[in-house]
């Protein structure tokens, strides 16, 4: 009851929203209002209990802590904010993120970071299928493993997987960079293993620094990228289409 009273007092000023008594709509509106009038920079979301669309469309440098599990599209289209999910996240966490940081302390469901154009997504557990699908510039670090079809049609950005990758990694890949420490069940069409040169060690080292990952050695990772054989249609490649 204490939190309820706290929330009822002045949620936009103390930055505490209790989703057991307040709605996701009220929370998101308050976060969006910060674009026009900044009343609070540090936010806490209590009792999320897997609700969908928490903290979507934020466009301000805020710190938002979600104290529990989040449903679909948490932190979708984030700009600038630093959002942490202290639990698991549902499908499409940080989808189409533009900038900022999203950290999931648990696991993430499928399509984590889908189509995201920028920012940093850290998943401390495992990620489901299609992690980084059509990524367009986001950097993603998964401390566990990723499911099948991850980085499908990845266009730009980095996907670093500290565990294993499922089937068809990097299928139809464009220019996203993929690093995997563990095993890769299979590579998708036009994705190949590439030489790990010093610039790639440096790229991964910097990414881990940004992500606060201190227990990984970039030298233990393998690099995967596009063979660029499917960039323009050739009938000789018909079997790959």
């Amino acid at each position: 009851m204490t939190t309820n009273n706290l929330a009822e007092k002045s949620a936009t000023e103390n930055g505490v929203y209790d989703l057991a008594v307040q709605s996701v709509r009220e929370l998101n509106q308050a976060l969006h209002d910060q674009r026009h009038q900044l009343t609070c920079t540090e936010w806490k979301v209590l009792n999320p209990k897997g609700q969908h669309n928490i903290a979507v469309g934020v466009d301000k440098k805020l710190t938002i802590d979600i104290q529990g599990h989040a449903g679909y599209y948490c932190a979708g289209m984030n700009k600038e904010a630093e959002i942490t999910v202290y639990g698991h996240a549902g499908q499409g966490v940080a989808e189409n993120m533009m900038s900022g940081t999203v950290r999931v302390k648990g696991n993430a469901s499928s399509s984590a970071g889908a189509t995201a154009h920028g920012g940093l997504l850290i998943i401390e557990g495992d990620a489901g299928s299609r992690c980084g699908i059509s990524m367009k510039g986001v950097d993603i670090v998964v401390k566990g493993s990723v499911g099948h079809m991850s980085c499908f049609m990845g266009q730009a950005g980095i996907l670093a997987v500290c565990g294993d990758a499922g089937d068809a990694l990097g299928d139809s890949l464009y220019e996203a960079h993929i690093y995997v420490k563990g095993s890769v069940k299979s590579l998708g069409a036009d994705c190949i293993e590439k030489e790990m040169r010093p610039e790639h060690i440096e790229e991964l080292t910097k990414l881990f620094e940004r992500a606060g990952v201190t227990d990984q050695d970039p030298k233990h990772f393998k690099r995967y990228g596009s063979a660029r054989q499917l960039y323009n249609f050739k009938v000789d490649n018909a079997a790959a289409y």
Partner: protein, 443 residues
């Protein structure tokens, strides 16, 4: 005449292996690749020409042309959006991408649509400043590729159209061949210059109608429930698709028949997937009526709309508005006979040119070639489009008044009859001179 030739008949062409079919077999054998082209289905299909209006006479009371009002305005997105879109005419411009079209062509579409108080729509590739600047009402397409997709543009939009498919290729993704991926197009789509862009056919972060409901709520949350959200489907299982779209929370449903155009896809896709626009409308309206949502969730119909009669017939069958794409391009000047010599050089002819994906459009519309683009004046193009849209509206009003209707949306199926059994069955209106609707009442 020799005795030998005296009894010979004319050489007989095969209806099965006609000239086009034979040429296509030879082309396939030569190249090893299927034919890719733009536009919609070219085969003959049951269409709006197969319907006629029953004008007023003894049993109905006509309205005076030019003197008595016939409303053409429509408001879209009244279900959930705080700011529905009000259109002065019920003819909108369908989604066509910057990339498929030049920036000037997109600007002209905005100019033309704005001049007559209607909306235009972005496409696969994001929103350009030219387009936003010249469009008073702009619908932002939310596509599987999410090229150029960002929340800033989303908030600038007057409506959001979640695209599940289009009539030319239901179940297929986008395609923009490398020759049109110029520096600007590449940057907007985060692609290397010159690569073939093959967009995914389904969205990356949801897989079914239950997910879509959550996705739509996300879009509403991001835009603070301000703008309408459309769902666009290619016409196939339209009855079920419309019901699911309503359930998913659409404000507006766009149904695109197989005559609807595309910038580029396989010819086999265009000609063999989907159903005619005529067949889709009654399915959509039935679904809406059964859910008690007809006129509450507005219906936009597209695919082969060419004149005011087509507009009026769509509305009589229950649409709230229509969208045009191919016809708008023609109004801008695409396929104009003045470029005949150049169309011939490309192996085509004015009126048949559909290799829009190659980027060599002599009219300078479906191209990114700087020299060809210079041929197209966006101000003049916008004026031509506005003229055309006015004519569509005047023609539709003429027909509505003749049927005694003071609002285009008062037209009804009862005002129509069909010329063929097929069109009667599809449109669910009686064969002219009879009371027979094939399929109705177990007939």
């Amino acid at each position: 005449m020799s005795e030998k030739t005296k009894y010979m008949t004319e050489p007989r062409e095969s209806a099965t292996f006609d000239r086009h079919t034979l040429a296509e077999i030879r082309r396939a054998a030569d190249t090893g690749i299927y034919d890719i082209r733009g536009a919609g289905a070219k085969r003959k299909l049951p269409h709006f020409d197969d319907l006629l209006f029953l004008g007023a006479s003894m049993s109905r009371y006509p309205l005076e042309g030019y003197r008595e009002k016939c409303n053409t305005s429509v408001t879209l997105g009244t279900r959930f959006a705080k700011k529905p879109i009000h259109l002065d005419i019920p003819v909108t411009i369908a989604g066509m991408s910057f990339g498929a079209l030049s920036a000037y062509a997109k600007e002209a579409l905005g100019r033309g649509a704005s001049a007559v108080g209607t909306s235009t729509t972005t496409g696969d590739g994001g929103m350009t400043s030219e387009e936003r600047g010249q469009s008073t009402k702009l619908v932002y397409q939310y596509l599987p590729s999410r090229y150029g997709m960002n929340p800033d543009d989303l908030r600038k939009a007057d409506a959001i159209e979640v695209v599940l498919g289009q009539g030319a290729k239901p179940g297929g993704g986008g395609m923009l061949l490398g020759q049109k991926i110029t520096d600007r197009v590449a940057k907007m789509r985060t692609l290397p210059m010159g690569v073939d862009q093959r967009s995914a056919c389904r969205h990356p972060d949801w897989t079914g109608p239950d997910d879509l409901e959550i996705k739509i709520k996300e879009l509403r949350e991001i835009t603070d429930w301000q703008v309408p959200i459309y769902i666009k489907v290619g016409a196939t299982r339209t009855y079920y698709d419309v019901k699911l779209a309503v359930k998913a929370g659409a404000d507006v449903i766009v149904v695109d028949g197989m005559q609807g155009g595309t910038a580029a896809t396989q010819d086999v896709f265009i000609e063999h997937v989907g159903i005619p626009t005529l067949a889709a409308i009654p399915q959509a309206v039935q679904a809406l009526q059964e859910m008690g949502m007809h006129r509450k969730v507005q219906l936009i119909v597209s695919g082969g709309i060419r004149n005011g009669a087509d507009v009026a017939k769509c509305m009589a069958l229950g649409a709230d508005a229509v969208a045009i794409g191919t016809a708008a391009m023609v109004a801008l000047g695409d396929n104009d006979p003045k470029w005949e010599e150049e169309y011939q050089k490309l192996g085509s002819t004015a009126g048949s040119y559909d290799d829009w994906h190659e980027g060599r459009d002599p009219a300078g519309i479906s191209t990114q070639d700087p020299e060809l683009m210079k041929r197209f004046d966006p101000v003049e193009g916008g004026r031509r489009l506005a003229n055309y849209l006015r004519v569509l509206t005047l023609e539709a009003q003429t027909l509505a008044r003749a049927c005694g209707k003071n609002d285009l949306r008062n037209l009804e199926p009862e005002d129509l009859v069909a010329l063929t059994v097929e069109s009667a069955a599809m449109a669910r209106v009686p064969l002219a001179g009879t009371q027979w609707i094939p399929g109705a009442n177990n007939w």
